[in-house]
């Protein structure tokens, strides 16, 4: 993975000093909260329900054991002993003090970490495929380009006061494991005539008006990749709406202009931007790519796995995925143990994951947008040992992509933007479906819960989605069906009137019962829904 050189380190260190000074000036009253707010947001610091919340960046979800241990350290020293992994591959701490923030950022900088631009109306963390470098279906590891984008977007002087936040994802396979088309810019690395390039999808997003990003340009030569991105952003900065916070994302601009007109404006700007010489030379990409070279895999390792232990076999079948290198596997660590809080991990658990990664995964981990963790390169001969260590740390829930592998935002328990609590709903649903056999029978069922319209739980992309709303001062939950964040991207359809907390759990069960009744062959829930349509489910829910 990428390692800072002296330039990268100097930039982060300067940022630490800058924010320390901004905090000092805020505490001394030299700047107002209104003036300070964008500055602290651009350092990932929110004022939330209980305290400040700090969102630490995990660039394209990749980190090593040293960094993981620092995250555990931050949790212990400055927070309340746990962290929350997010739907943008970052980590959040909920109990932060403003006057500790400079020290936290200084600590993070010692291991090449930061909280730069994890909030604010700027370009956010670049996300990517959690199986990058390990999956057989990618045409290249997308992360060097994610790193190029990270550097280009960091402290970009023109794009730090955008109309609204800006989220970019980069993938390199046809299977979309990063919900690419639900980003402001989604990039898929593609090949044409043997040459690498990028397909740009622009204008996706969730929130109040979810949209799937249309294809704006099917092939940008890879050497023009940053110029084209710059052009996309400049058109947005100049013409994105600033009159209404709910209409300020780029998806609204593209919707209002039309994809074709937006593409035309970008093309015009791109022709101009290309003359500015902002694209780094091939040598820079080579330098970065070298950090993402495959680890020193052992050749000739066996693909045999002893499945005698039935619990191990269950976990193996559910959480472990094929690796492109013979003898190796991709391990998914679910942070969704039934009854626990989705995406949360204690500092002790974070340390365990660090240790396992260091010993068994070439010192690398990934954070997924489903709030889980990946060990990308585990030798099959080590899987049983890894599993045992995960069991000891309560990290072995064998439920990847099953109904209890719920994505849930922090919701009203933590978030000042929320209208309803989301975590208790997730817990109740997981409890209702606690029987693992029942879950495995239901199969792949991606359930996502958001506590408000901002959709941080990605509920629009849930096979089953739940949105918490405030109905006359009471929490109410809307159900939606048929969303997908994969390459078959679709937005969920609201079923009808909402439910209370217990009602929505019952409604979910009626939906799954209906699915079992109607499914054919090996259909997933999503496939059955798409085949039979909305009405049978609506009737099952409401009678």
């Amino acid at each position: 993975m990428y390692k800072y050189d002296t330039y990268d380190q100097a930039i982060v260190d300067a940022r630490v000093a800058e924010f320390a000074d901004q905090v000092r000036r805020r505490l001394a009253g030299e700047i107002t909260e209104d003036q300070f707010k964008p500055l602290r947001l651009m350092n990932g610091l929110y004022l939330q329900l209980h305290a400040y919340m700090l969102r630490v960046a995990i660039p394209y979800g990749t980190l090593d054991s040293r960094q993981m241990r620092m995250l555990a350290h931050i949790a212990r020293k400055y927070d309340r002993d746990y962290g929350h992994f997010t739907t943008r591959q970052n980590i959040q701490y909920n109990w932060i003090k403003l006057d500790d923030a400079p020290a936290i950022l200084a600590d993070l900088a010692t291991v090449e970490m930061h909280a730069i631009q994890t909030s604010g109306n700027c370009i956010r963390n670049i996300s990517s495929d959690q199986y990058a470098g390990a999956a057989a279906d990618e045409i290249a590891d997308p992360r060097p380009w994610a790193e190029l984008l990270r550097q280009w977007s960091t402290f970009h002087p023109e794009f730090s006061y955008l109309p609204r936040k800006f989220k970019i994802a980069v993938i390199a396979a046809d299977e979309d494991r990063a919900a690419m088309r639900l980003h402001d810019i989604g990039i898929q690395l593609v090949e044409r005539d043997g040459k690498l390039g990028a397909a740009f999808y622009v204008g996706g997003g969730m929130g109040r008006t979810p949209m799937v990003a249309p294809l704006i340009k099917d092939y940008v030569p890879i050497e023009d990749f940053l110029s084209y991105s710059e052009a996309c952003l400049r058109v947005y900065n100049r013409h994105g709406r600033r009159d209404n916070i709910y209409k300020a994302r780029i998806k609204i601009l593209i919707h209002e202009l039309g994809a074709q007109e937006y593409a035309r404006q970008v093309e015009e700007e791109f022709a101009h931007v290309k003359t500015l010489g902002i694209d780094p030379p091939a040598a820079e990409l080579e330098r970065i790519s070298a950090f993402f070279a495959p680890p020193a895999f052992e050749a000739g390792l066996s693909d045999e796995i002893d499945r005698t232990d039935p619990d191990f076999a269950v976990w193996l079948d559910q959480n472990v995925k094929a690796h492109k290198q013979p003898g190796y596997a991709i391990v998914n660590i679910s942070l969704k143990k039934t009854g626990e809080i989705p995406g949360d991990a204690s500092s002790a658990q974070i340390d365990v994951m660090a240790d396992i990664a260091e010993a068994y995964s070439f010192d690398e981990l990934r954070v997924t947008h489903a709030q889980n963790i990946v060990l990308p390169h585990v030798a099959k001969r080590d899987l049983y040992t890894v599993w045992q260590k995960l069991v000891d740390a309560d990290l072995a829930a064998p439920n990847l992509d099953l109904i209890s592998d719920i994505i849930a935002c922090p919701g009203l328990d933590y978030c000042s933007l929320a209208n309803a609590r989301s975590i208790p709903i997730a817990q109740k649903i997981a409890q209702r479906f606690a029987d693992l056999d029942r879950q495995r029978d239901l199969g792949e069922l991606k359930l996502k819960i958001s506590g408000c319209i901002n959709a941080c739980g990605h509920h629009h992309a849930g096979h089953i989605g739940i949105l918490g709303v405030d109905r006359k001062g009471t929490e109410n939950y809307q159900l939606s069906l048929g969303g997908s964040g994969a390459e078959d991207t679709s937005l969920g359809k609201i079923t009808g009137p909402g439910f209370d907390e217990d009602g929505v759990v019952d409604a979910v069960e009626r939906v799954t019962d209906k699915y079992l009744e109607l499914r054919e062959g090996g259909e997933r829930f999503l496939d059955t829904y798409r085949r039979v349509g909305f009405d049978p489910f609506k009737e099952a829910i409401y009678g």
């Binding site: 805020r26 505490l27 009253g29 909260e33 004022l47 939330q48 329900l49 209980h50 305290a51 400040y52 309340r80 109990w95 932060i96 003090k97 403003l98 006057d99 809080i341 009203l412 328990d413 933590y414 000042s416 929320a418 609590r421 975590i423 208790p424 817990q427 001062g473 929490e475």
Partner: protein, 98 residues
């Protein structure tokens, strides 16, 4: 009744106006009646509170109970982590929120 609430600037802790200062315990909050805006302005300008606002609450035997669940969660702590709330030893504390 009306309560004045906000967060402590340096620590971020949820605070409640007691009449002559700020407390993290909603039980100490007073009814600011019509004076809330004036107090808010003074306290915010002096940086003794950050992001203050006024809420409705109902007086009860246990003290003021904010009208909206969001402020009750702010007053106590997350419903899903009783151990992290202001009343970790009280098994019924969550009922007060919900």
């Amino acid at each position: 009744m009306k309560l004045l609430t906000g967060n402590d600037l340096a620590s971020g802790a949820v605070t409640w106006w007691t009449g002559n200062g700020w407390s993290i315990h909603v039980e100490d909050a007073i009814d600011v009646d019509e004076h809330g805006d004036a107090v808010l302005a003074v306290e915010e300008a002096a940086r003794r509170v950050n992001a203050p606002y006024i809420i409705d609450a109902v007086g009860t035997a246990e003290g003021p109970r904010p009208a909206h669940i969001k402020d009750r969660i702010r007053a106590l702590g997350p419903t899903v982590r009783p151990d992290l709330t202001l009343k970790p030893a009280d098994p019924n504390a969550g009922d007060w929120v919900i």
